[in-house]
Symmetry: C2
Subunit: 72 residues, 2 copies
C-alpha cells in the first residue's frame, strides 16, 4: 500500500551548490511528518518540487558536526 509522508522546509539555511540542471544542494531545517525539524543536507529540484538523495542529522549529530568543523 502506498505510504504517505509530508515534509515542510522550516528554514532554508544555505545553498551549497547549483548544478547545470539547476538542482541545488542545500542545508535546511526540515520537518518530516509534522515532527520537530531536523537538519537536512539534500539535493533539490528548482523550487523544491522534487527531492533528491540526502541525509538528515539530529540536533546532536549536527552539534558534533559543528564541533568538528570548528576544530578543523
Amino acid at each position: 500500500m502506498p505510504q504517505e509522508f509530508s515534509y515542510e522546509i522550516v528554514e532554508e539555511i544555505a545553498v551549497l551548490s547549483t548544478n547545470p540542471k539547476e538542482w541545488t544542494k542545500e542545508l535546511n531545517l526540515v520537518s518530516w511528518n509534522g515532527r520537530p525539524p531536523k537538519f537536512d543536507l539534500r539535493d533539490w529540484a528548482p523550487g523544491h518540487e522534487k527531492m533528491g538523495k540526502g541525509i538528515t542529522l539530529t540536533n546532536e549529530e549536527f552539534e558534533e558536526l559543528v564541533k568538528t568543523i570548528k576544530e578543523m
Copy 2:
C-alpha cells in the same frame, strides 16, 4: 551487467553518532573509484563493512558548509 566500484576511506574525520545496532554516522574523506577524495557524510556498519545512505560533498560544497556553520 553488474557494475563494480571501489571506495577507500582516506581519512576518518569524525563519528557523529552511534545507533543501537552499532552503525555510525560519520564524516570522512572517501575516494570513489580511485578519484580524488571527497567529504562524505554517511551511515556505516561496524568496521565499515557495509555502507548506508549518505551524501558526498565536493571541496567547494564543504567550504560553503564550513562558512555557513562558522556564521551560525
